[in-house]
Amino acid sequence: MKNREKVLQVKNLYITFNTFSGKVHGVRGVNFDLHKGETLAIVGESGSGKSVTNKAIMGILSKNANIEDGQILYKDKDLTKFSDKQFTKIRGSEISMIFQDPMSSLDPVMKIGKQIMEAMLVKENISKAEAKEKALNLMAAVGIPEPEKRFNQYPFQFSGGMRQRIVIAIALACDPDILICDEPTTALDVTIQAQILDLIKEIQEERQISVIFITHDLGVVANVADRVAVMYAGKIVETGTVDEIFYNPQHPYTWSLLASMPDLDTDASDELLVIPGTPPNMLYPPKGDAFAPRNRYAMKIDFKKEPPMFKVSDTHYAATWLLHPDAPKVEKPEALTRRIEKQKERQVADNE
């Protein structure tokens, strides 16, 4: 399998925000490792803390954020202790990030080429000509036709998909080891989405970089990721390889996510599972398991005590009391079981 060298370790990360109405607990003790050359997908619904976790890694948390606890270990250093100046050194050249909205991520009044070269010229000791050459190569690599001509154009002359390619080129300009993609395809239409995903996959394989891929779309995950972490209400509730999450999900929230995801076989007559209720208000983090009020399998203990991470396999963990030896045996929803069967069949068919 993959090289198991850990490039980034997030340990018990706890982040709150000061707001007028009180302290918002955005991230409540997140743990994960990122291995060299792998793509880790972080999925979860809106507000679950995906962006906050990754902004902490980049050192771009908003001013009202507090890192209450935890560590982010990168090359034996703890990023939570870094100053903005220290972060400036590693941003772009070691850890890079691309955002959701390619329409507003580019400086509207600066030429594309200049925006790609900017970080190289500031951070690396190279001449303008070298930087230009590198930028043109990058533009070609991310699939911009006629890079020479495009080099001197402004963002508004590019389509949304093209702009996201440019943003990727900018993120790669200083050869980072880790690339964080925060919902990079959400703002794009479906065909462009697929192209950008392919591009990220291609770049990841070619450069052997580690990618953290944030999304709330499980369909995307199956395409790009090696491993998946499912987040809910500021915590990771289940983590495992793509196969483990898709074919053997353990956490009821993961079940709901999977069952609520339309796929190719879904037609109008199929019922999509809707997750009842809304995510908890993170001003008052709930006692017990945050998912309990929306969970139809919830037991008494779920409202009192938070479940620990139970080990399913070496790579697969889930935080649900259902995995406790004393818990009643609960079956996955039938619709989900059927769907998993179908997927497995399709996979087998694909492989033949």
Binding site: R91, S96, S104, S105, M110, A119, F156, I170, A171
Partner: protein, 315 residues
Amino acid sequence: MLRYIVQRLIAMAITLFIIISISFFIIHSMPGSIVDDPMLPEDVKLAIEDKYHLNDPLPVQYGYFLKDFLSFNFGTSIKVQPRVSVFDIIKAKLPITLQVNIFSLILTVPVGIILGIVAALKKNRAADHIISIMVILFISVPSFVFAALLQYFVAFKWGLAPILLSTDATLTWTKFKSMILPVLALSFGGIATITRYMRAELCEALNSEYMLLAKTKGLSQVQATVRHAIRNSFIPLANIIIPMFFSILGGSMVIENIFGIPGLGQLSVSSINALDHPLTIATLFFYSLISLLSILVVDLSYGIIDPRIRIGGRK
């Protein structure tokens, strides 16, 4: 682009026509006569009134006026500087106004921009609050109040600068010193406007997504601010700075009167007081022309400064 400019120029001509027509009727409906000297014999008075068609009905007067105006014959002054062409009078007053106003502009623009940048970078901290209070003060207190206060305290009480503008013809040291107070009084409002604008634009730019990308690609906060945020906030700023460049031609009636600056502002006031109609209309026309031109230049300059319009508009 050319077509657009032509369209705008035609619209401008129509606007100017409406403005001078309205001002003609308003000015001529003011009570009083230019020949109000009681010692003047009746027949002389009649002769003068006849010469300027003052006894004809207003529409007929308007006809004469338009005919002259359209042939660029703006007439001569009647009372302020009798028999001197109004064109020459304005030409003579313009440099005086310009001199004071250029100094004011040199002060206003950089100070306003710097204060705005400081306020945005120190948002919600002491420096920002102090600057905000200053802005509110400068915008809400009229310039003549500042002028009077400056004259009273700085000039009269402390004797640090002359009360009135020196009459030296060239820019001597005395003249320069006497210009300090009027320049200050003229600048406060502009500084406040630019500061407020700059702060708002820069705050928005600092929170933009492109700033985030600039930081994540490895620029320091200072580099990202200078290269991206400030650059971007300058574009909308052109909107208010360009008209300022034009308004320096106009001069301020109030400030010029207070400090005894014999410029355009003072000219228009004295022409109105003297019922010197041709001169009044000529100054009004000049003011309107300046403001309309500045609006046009703002619009056109966007096409030069902002690449989105410069290149996007060409298609």
